[in-house]
Structures are given as structure tokens and as C-alpha cells.
């Protein structure tokens, strides 16, 4: 897997020529610092951009065009990695050879993204106010809807409490309280600033070449004079003074017990592979300590798992339990963390985890999105580890390597979402 790389107008271009897929997959990453002042307006930008371009001011025309491009998939999402907020535009279109298309579908797809991001609809030096108002409402409803999914709600609340003094506390999708202060003029100003300072990386996977893609970008993107701000990556070293315990009450039928831990190891750390294995043994799989002890042995939960965020060096644990089982479940989870520190890991747990991790790394080669995501993680973290190298590293991890990582892990926050009865 080798992405061919080029640069156009300070836009980094990454192309993987392959004929394994029936589609072309296109992703544009735009990264800017995650900070209170701009998090909400930045999050609102793609919502407004999708409403109209200079060429096609009416939303319906843009939507119809996607249908005309044989049901091209278009979407955007807003995420965070470390201290960076990312706006990501995705497009997925079929390869022309399956249909009798008069135009190159790849060219049309790149044009779609290019016009949306660099040729928006501007009226009187600002975005169309009706679009901005409508999309403010949409984003507001989106932010408010987190409460409908208690698993996600608990997970976001735990991170917010844990990182109360770091940019990472911010939801990448923005803050409700900022929305009333955004209007068509200030948002357009923010857009111009965003476009000139964002780190831009575009990925294309499919039956094409770097030259072809660069040609289309030169044709369809017109970027201003840009001075992209270098990425400020998060420091994964963190000393916990005191474990925080947060209990929140809502009308829920099931309790959500979440824990946040500092790994003190991150994506760019030399022992990142050991951190992956640590997460796998603790809670990444159905054979992991958390699943086996909380679910299979004690029947306390349907789900109990851990997840590693390498760019921030945080490991989070999620579970859904009876309210009355809080103490019992917490004790068992803490015990598993202690077992990891003590190096009480069997050869079987280690070999199963390595086999599972190796499989998921190899499976990445079958997915255009996985391959470009992996490459972009390297780009962001300023590392150059290939999938093959990580695979080799994972396979040489020993129990003592995992224990070394485990001994740096510190519990930071315990978060419990429960009903309104009881205490």
C-alpha cells in the first residue's frame, strides 16, 4: 500500500491507485486548532457549505447532482484528534466502467468537493442568511440530540469532566451557547480565515493516478494565499493528582458506568504497539478481561469494553449496568486494571490479542477508508509507520512490554449516569 504524494496550492494530495474497488473514494481533511473561540463556528462551516455553491446556489440542485452522479455518497463529519478539530468531507462514487456515463465520474466528484469547499455561495460579502439560520437550527438540534443516545452521552460527559482543563474537553461539533452569536457575516469571516489557515489533505483511492487527480484539483479548487498553521499535537504525558468521581442523574432505565484513564503513551510513542495490546487484553474484545469478568462471569452487563485514543493518550471504559451494581462493577473493573499493572496476563490472553490486532490491521487493506485513515494518522502524528511495520511490532510484544505500559496507566475519572431515585 503506497500513497503517491503531491502538493497543489499548499493542499497535500495523496492518491492510492488500485483497481480492487468498484468505486472512487475521496476524503478531504481540514484541520485547525481545537479551541473555545472557534470550535462552534468551524463546526457550522460544512453545514452551510453543503447548502449552495456559486455555481449551484440552490440546495436542491446540489442534491440532484449527487443523484445524477449515480447516487454518489456525499457526507461530512466533524471530529477531533489530540488538540485539532477536523472537518472531513467524504465522497464515494462508482467507477465509470459499470455505467454508460458521458462524463468522468471521478472528475465530477472532485469538482463537487472543490466547488463546495472553495467556491461557496457568497451574497453581499457574506453567506446567504437563510442558509446560516437554518443550519444553526440543524446544528443546535444535533447537539441537543446527544441526550437521546445514553451510551454516547455518558462517554462524552466522562471526557468533558476528565479533560476539564484541556482543549479536548470540547465537543468537536461545537457548543450550544455559542450558536446565537454566529451570523452570516461572522461565519463567512471565519470561513475565510479557516480556509487560509487549515491544514488541508485530500485522499483519493481508486483506479486513477496522482497526475490525473492533481489535474482535477488544479481545475476545480481555487484556494486563497494560504498560511496553514502547523499542528499542535497533544502531550500524552499527564499526572493525575486525584481521581475524580462524577455521578449524574437522569431519567434512565440502565446505569452507565464509564472510566477515563491516562495512558501516558500515545500514537507517536515508541511503545504504541504495546499500548494497543494493552487495550486489547483489557477490554478490546470478547476474550478480554473486562468482557469475561464483568459480563461472562458475573452477568453484570451486556457490554463492557475499552477503547484507546492514541492521539490523546486516553483509554476509556464503557459499561451498562443495574444502578444497584455500581460498587460491584466498579470494583471488578478496577481489579482488571490492577491485574494489568501486576502483569497478571496469561500467554493465551497475549496471543489471542496479538492475533486479533494482526487481523484488524491486515483487514485494513480491503477498505479504502481504513487505508486512507491509517495514512492520515501518520500524517497527523508526524510518524511514518506503515501498516506492515505496526503489524510486525504488535507481533513481537511480550507480557513484560504490556506491563511496562500498564504501570504508566493512571485512573483519572469515574463517571456514573443513573436514575433520579436513590442517591
Amino acid at each position: 500500500m503506497d500513497f503517491q504524494k503531491g502538493t497543489v496550492q499548499s493542499l497535500n494530495v495523496h492518491v492510492l491507485p488500485t483497481n480492487r474497488f468498484k468505486t472512487f473514494t475521496i476524503t478531504l481533511f481540514a484541520g485547525t486548532p481545537l479551541q473555545e473561540e472557534t470550535v462552534t463556528s468551524t463546526a457550522l462551516i460544512p453545514y452551510v457549505l453543503r447548502r449552495g455553491t456559486a455555481n449551484k446556489p440552490e440546495t436542491i440542485a446540489l442534491r440532484e447532482q449527487l443523484d445524477e452522479l449515480y447516487g454518489a455518497g456525499f457526507g461530512f463529519n466533524i471530529t477531533k484528534r489530540g488538540n485539532t478539530q477536523f472537518v472531513q468531507f467524504r465522497m464515494d462514487v462508482i467507477n465509470d466502467r459499470f455505467v454508460k456515463s458521458e462524463v468522468s465520474l471521478l472528475s465530477e466528484a472532485i469538482k463537487y468537493v472543490g466547488q463546495m469547499v472553495t467556491h461557496p455561495l457568497v451574497e453581499n460579502g457574506q453567506f446567504r442568511p437563510a442558509y446560516v439560520d437554518a443550519e444553526k437550527q440543524t446544528l443546535q438540534k444535533q447537539l441537543e440530540s446527544v441526550i437521546n443516545d445514553k451510551i454516547r452521552y455518558a462517554s462524552e460527559r466522562c471526557m468533558e469532566e476528565m479533560c476539564a482543563n484541556e482543549p479536548y474537553r470540547l465537543n468537536a461539533a461545537g457548543r450550544l451557547e455559542d450558536l446565537p452569536h454566529v451570523d452570516a457575516r461572522t461565519l463567512f469571516e471565519r470561513y475565510q480565515q479557516w480556509l487560509s489557515e487549515a491544514q488541508l489533505d485530500i485522499y483519493v483511492v481508486g483506479d486513477t493516478t496522482l497526475e490525473e487527480v492533481i489535474g482535477y484539483i488544479e481545475q476545480y479548487f481555487s484556494l486563497p494565499d494560504r498560511s496553514p498553521r502547523p499542528y499542535e499535537r497533544a502531550d500524552v504525558q499527564y499526572n493525575v493528582d486525584e481521581v475524580k468521581t462524577i455521578v449524574e442523574q437522569l431519567d434512565v432505565n440502565q446505569g452507565k458506568l464509564n472510566l477515563g484513564l491516562r495512558m501516558n503513551t500515545g500514537y507517536a510513542s515508541p511503545n504504541y504497539a504495546a499500548a494497543l495490546v494493552y487495550n486489547g487484553i483489557l477490554g478490546g474484545y470478547p476474550h478480554s478481561k473486562l468482557f469475561v469478568n464483568v459480563r461472562e462471569k458475573e452477568s453484570l452487563a451486556y457490554y463492557c469494553a475499552s477503547r484507546l485514543d492514541g492521539h490523546k493518550g486516553i483509554l476509556s471504559i464503557q459499561s451498562g449496568i443495574e444502578f444497584a451494581n455500581y460498587e460491584k462493577a466498579l470494583k471488578i473493573i478496577e481489579q482488571q486494571i490492577a491485574e494489568m499493572k501486576a502483569g497478571n496476563i496469561t500467554d493465551v490472553e497475549l496471543s489471542q490479542t496479538i492475533a486479533m490486532l494482526s487481523n484488524s490491521l491486515r483487514e485494513m487493506f480491503d477498505s479504502a477508508n481504513d487505508m486512507l485513515g491509517f495514512d492520515f494518522n501518520n500524517r497527523y502524528a508526524n510518524t511514518n509507520r506503515t501498516i506492515e511495520q505496526l503489524l510486525t511490532e504488535v507481533q513481537t510484544i511480550s507480557i513484560s512490554d504490556v506491563q511496562t505500559v500498564a504501570q504508566q496507566v493512571e485512573l483519572d475519572t469515574i463517571y456514573f449516569l443513573r436514575d433520579r431515585q436513590g442517591v
Partner: protein, 428 residues
């Protein structure tokens, strides 16, 4: 071994029905690292009243197919997840209305993993103790879903539409019903529905078809099964009318959730003809309610709908219905708008330009789906259990005409058959 060539989509299928009745399909994907296999039984949450051969019929507790799925992973020597993990495979399973599917995906030790998949599904191991232990876990699974507003509004709609049919029963059952499940009933269900003649094995990925087929052949030849007997499934006749017009559930949500369901009073088609009806219905709904429709854009501008607005069409030989809805601040206004719009379109019919555009969209979306081995395995099995071929769907989209869609419009939308489900926050 039959070889089925689908030139339009550049795919080749290998198919064989073994002497014990098991159907095996292999779809090689040259260049793929991964192999994905599903082992499915035509047995889901709706199959709660049945008999085999001349034996007397039995009724079983709600949620038992899903319970059985959980318990299959336990073997005398321990949890089968551990075996898959040792062999580097990610395994899982799911239960739907009409099927239960066990699966793995792996990049190495394919022969071992395929053997593990077949063997664990063909080796039930239920004890009083392990059955009891599972109840607490499934109780938590049910509680998890009861907090999920999207799930609740969806099931609320089934309950409002269907009077007798078990599609309105939650796939996982209820906390009460699962505590009635015991080892003997599990074995009874297992022995009925897990006979190879009621199952389909689908293998897709970077594999050699003949080698996979030979592995399955010899694995099955080494086992003995009872002779094939006919399974009879009993469903109380479902009355044509809906059960209730409107069902409201209270749960804390940021905005009310509304779903409209048009229940078709009877399903007269089956097999490929039913698939054609499904294809035409999907085109019709997309023209009417898709995000490129003028209706969608108008309601969005009026802030009656948001990105969550959507629609779907589901049908089998026993049920057929559409679902339309999403989050809205004003449920009654949204219901009124949709009803009015459908009534108007019934008078005017669908516009040809919009029809052609959506047809093109559906063809492209279908082709994009073929990038995903998971989606192919899932869709192929779903269609095969209805005696249909998923690869014909492309042809049906191409053949679909404006006249078909306009006829469907008239046949489908009957306002006596409209049921509504709402989830809203408790009044303060």
C-alpha cells in the same frame, strides 16, 4: 458445483447444495486480504409457533431465537470467542425477524476459522446453569434498548400496525419472557431450525472456491444428521386493518420522534415478483421523500424535519409496509404535511424527470454496496431465504418504469392503513 457469472457487476458465484441439504455459496474476491463467512439459519424472532413433520406444534417464549444465538457461543471447553481469537478471527452473530446469522472475518487460518464456525453452530451445549447465567446479560441488553429512543419509536410503529403477527414482538423478548426460557425449549428450537437443510453458508473474500467447497463437503460428510423433515411455521392470520392509529411512548428526548407506517393489508406476491415490488416501492419512496425532493427541502426550510428524516420499505410474504419519519418539533404538523403531500401526489402522479434521476441513483447505490463483502453476504442470504437472487436486483432497477411506480403509489398509500408512532418527553 454450479458457477454463476454476473457480467454486469463483474462477480462470479460458486454454489452447491450438499446431500444433507446445506446450501453453500462462495464468492471469490481476488486481491482481498480478508475472508468473511456467514452461517445463517432461516429462523428468527417471528418463528415462535411451529412443528416438525407430524409432531404436534409448540409455542415458545418471545425472544428465544435471540437467546439461542447468545448460547451457541458456549461450548463444553469454554467460550468459542476464545477459539476465534486464537485464530485471529473477529466473530459475531445477530438475530433478525426471520434469520439468525453467525459470522467471522479473518485474514489468516481461514480453513481453521471456517471449520470452527461450522462446528460451533452445529454443536449446541445448553445446561441449566449456563442458561440461567445468560438471563442477567440479556436483561441488561433489553434495558439498554429500552433507553434508546430510535428503537422505541420503531417498535412502537410495529405494535401499532400489527394485531397478531409476531413482527411486533421485540427480537430480544421481554425481561419477563426470557426468564421462562429453559434448556429443553432451547434444544427443541435448535433441533428444528438448525438442520442443515434450513441453513445457508456464504463465504466471500480472497479464497479459492473449490478448496472452500471441498472443506465444507468433507466437514459435513463426517457428521450425521436426522433425515430432512418439513418445518411448519404457524402464524395466526393477520387482519388487514392496523391495530391502532397512534401510539405514543414517553421517554426523555431532545425532540419528539415520529414515524408513519403504511401497512399493506395483504401480500399477494412471493419470490422474484415480491422483490420487484420492493424495488419499485423503494424508488417511489425515494422520489417522494428523498433529500433531493422539493418536499424534503420545503419541510427542512420550515424546520419541520432535520437530517434524521428518512424512510424505508420492508416486505416478506407475511408483511409489507413503509416507514417514513424522523425528529420534529411539531409531530402533528409533520403528519399533516406528509398526508397532504401523498394525497396530492396520488392525484398528479410522479414526475418523469424525478423518476429517472432516482432510478439512476438507486442503480449507483446498489453497485457501491457491492464493495462491501459484509453487505453482499447479508443481502444475498436475505434474498436467498426468500427464494430469490440478490444479483437480479440490478436488473429490476433497470427495468422499473414510471408506470410501475405510479401504479405502486396507488396500491400502497391507503390512509385507512396509516399507523403512527411517537416518542416524546414526559410532560413536566
Amino acid at each position: 458445483m454450479d458457477i454463476l457469472q454476473y457480467d454486469a457487476v463483474e462477480e462470479t458465484l460458486y454454489r452447491e447444495v450438499l446431500p444433507n441439504g446445506l446450501e453453500v455459496i462462495v464468492l471469490p474476491k481476488p486481491g482481498f486480504q480478508k475472508t468473511y463467512a456467514t452461517f445463517a439459519t432461516k429462523y428468527g424472532s417471528i418463528d415462535n409457533h411451529f412443528s416438525v413433520g407430524d409432531n404436534p406444534p409448540i409455542k415458545v417464549p418471545d425472544g428465544i431465537a435471540h437467546f439461542l444465538e447468545h448460547k451457541m457461543f458456549e461450548e463444553p471447553e469454554g467460550d468459542i470467542f476464545a477459539t476465534f481469537a486464537k485464530q485471529g478471527a473477529a466473530a459475531n452473530a445477530f438475530t433478525s425477524f426471520d434469520r439468525t446469522v453467525y459470522l467471522f472475518s479473518a485474514t489468516e487460518q481461514i480453513d481453521e476459522n471456517l471449520t470452527t464456525l461450522i462446528n460451533f453452530v452445529q454443536n449446541p451445549y445448553f445446561t441449566d446453569q449456563n442458561v440461567d447465567k445468560e438471563k442477567g446479560i440479556i436483561e441488561q441488553e433489553i434495558n439498554m434498548y429500552s433507553d434508546n429512543a430510535d428503537w422505541r419509536v420503531y417498535y412502537g410503529l410495529f405494535e401499532a400496525m400489527y394485531q397478531k403477527h409476531p413482527i411486533s414482538i421485540d427480537i430480544a423478548g421481554t425481561v419477563e419472557s426470557i426468564y421462562k426460557i429453559d434448556k429443553d425449549t432451547l434444544y427443541r428450537c435448535y433441533n428444528t431450525f438448525y438442520h442443515p437443510s434450513n441453513m445457508l453458508l456464504f463465504i466471500v473474500g480472497g479464497v479459492d472456491a473449490e478448496q472452500m467447497m471441498e472443506l465444507v463437503r468433507s466437514n459435513q460428510a463426517s457428521k450425521t444428521f436426522t433425515p430432512i423433515e418439513e418445518i411448519n411455521r404457524f402464524f395466526e392470520p393477520e387482519p388487514g386493518p392496523i391495530k391502532e392509529r397512534k401510539k405514543t411512548i414517553q421517554l426523555p428526548v431532545s425532540l419528539p420522534k415520529v414515524m408513519l407506517g403504511f401497512k399493506e393489508p395483504e401480500v399477494t406476491l412471493s419470490g422474484e415478483e415480491l422483490v420487484k415490488q420492493e424495488v419499485v416501492s423503494k424508488v417511489m419512496l425515494d422520489v417522494l421523500f428523498g433529500s433531493s425532493s422539493a418536499f424534503y427541502q420545503r419541510l427542512y426550510d420550515q424546520q419541520l424535519i432535520y437530517d434524521s428524516f428518512g424512510f424505508e420499505y420492508n416486505c416478506s410474504e407475511q408483511y409489507a409496509f413503509s416507514v417514513i419519519g424522523g425528529d420534529t418539533p411539531q409531530p402533528d404538523t409533520l403528519i399533516e404535511e406528509i398526508s397532504h403531500y401523498v394525497k396530492e401526489t396520488l392525484k398528479t402522479g410522479i414526475n418523469e424527470q424525478n423518476f429517472n434521476r432516482i432510478k439512476r441513483k438507486k442503480i449507483g447505490s446498489y453497485l457501491r454496496m457491492l464493495n462491501s463483502p459484509e453487505a453482499i453476504a447479508s443481502e444475498f442470504t436475505k434474498f436467498r431465504f426468500r427464494d430469490c437472487d440478490m444479483f437480479n436486483v440490478l436488473k429490476y432497477y433497470e427495468e422499473c418504469t414510471l408506470a410501475d411506480v405510479n401504479q405502486r403509489l396507488v396500491d400502497h398509500f391507503n390512509f385507512d392503513q396509516l399507523a403512527i408512532s411517537i416518542v416524546e418527553s414526559p410532560k413536566a
